[in-house]
Amino acid sequence: MKVNGSFVALEEEQSLYDYLTLRNFDLTKIAVECNGNIVPKAEYKNVILKEEDTLEIVRFVGGG
């Protein structure tokens, strides 16, 4: 699977929610696009990741 431009190995069938929480992403501070489409927060548990998927994860930090 491609994540933010780099290829990563997908060890097991995993939901987007599991992928993100296992890597300690704070779900309230990110936006995720899968294959060019924004994934609504409510869909994270329903999206099952596949090897051919391309993810873009944007993490926001505070300050402005």
Binding site: G36, V58, F60, V61, G63
Partner: protein, 267 residues
């Protein structure tokens, strides 16, 4: 030959810029030809845009706008004047971005914030001591009207949430995300990408402290989303926010917005 002099199209028989100055002004008047202030005479060509500006004299309102935009690249002003940009959050990013967009003549600005100006804002935000206690929307609108009276400024004192993003921002060319809190940034970006498919979002992330200026960049991680900043340096205990890096980031956002209004989608 047809040229534009101080905003008005006219037929001229003069062959050079300085001949026009001689005919309507004084030798010390500023001459700006197609966006560049010239000190040596230059020949004129069809459709040239020429401004002759007398220093220290208030032009009439009709001429003022064209003189204000005389340093723009030709025909940029007509395009940005049609632009509609919404700015969500009027802090260090939003207030400075609004000032820049007003200076370049973006025709319609929509300013949204729920907060009032307080003393800790003055180290980086575009407000003055006299604004303390005022709603940020009103304090910023007052400045923008003094900078450029020829643009439309709309304001809303409101807290932005998932419930009102669509109602507030539908119909705008660009939404500028200029919040302070990371969860608010993510909320606006997610909601706008889901609910306003045609809209471009220009966001800021990572501009605290006094790390190198050169770490701040403009990126396009998604088709409709641009993110400016270093992506790392967050405001936290021990790492403050200050005018220089906040304004560098604001400059990145404002220039990306300008590029989008001019049809340039690459960063």
């Amino acid at each position: 030959m047809k040229i534009i002099i101080n905003g008005k199209e006219q037929e001229t028989t003069y062959q050079t810029a300085f001949q026009v100055r001689e005919s309507i002004g004084n030798p010390e008047d500023i001459v700006i030809l197609n966006g560049f202030q010239i000190n040596q005479d230059s020949p004129l060509a069809e459709n040239d845009i020429l401004s002759i500006i007398r220093k220290g004299v208030m032009p009439d309102e009709e001429e003022l706008e064209s003189m204000m935009m005389a340093r723009h690249t030709p025909y940029v002003h007509q395009r940005v004047k049609k632009g509609k940009v919404a700015i969500a959050g009027l802090g260090g990013l939003g207030s400075n971005i609004a000032v820049m967009l007003a200076r370049i003549g973006v025709g319609h600005l929509f300013l949204v914030d729920f907060d009032i100006v307080e003393p800790s804002n003055l180290n980086r935000q575009s407000y003055y001591v006299r604004h303390l206690g005022m709603p940020k929307t009103a304090a910023l609108k007052e400045q923008l009207e003094e900078i450029n009276p020829f643009i439309t400024i709309e304001t809303r004192d409101a807290k932005i949430s998932e419930e009102n993003v669509k109602e507030l921002f539908e119909g705008y060319d660009v939404i500028c995300e200029a919040f302070d809190k990371p969860d608010a940034k993510a909320m606006l970006v997610n909601t706008a990408l889901e609910q306003l498919p045609g809209c471009k979002i220009v966001s800021g992330s990572g501009m605290a402290g006094f790390d190198s200026s050169n770490l701040i960049q403009t990126r396009r991680p998604m088709k409709q989303l641009y993110v400016c900043g270093d992506l790392e340096n967050e405001a936290r205990i021990g790492s403050g926010l200050m005018a220089p890096r906040v304004q560098i980031c604001a400059g990145h956002q404002a220039n990306m917005i300008l590029r989008l209004l001019l049809g340039q989608e690459e960063v």
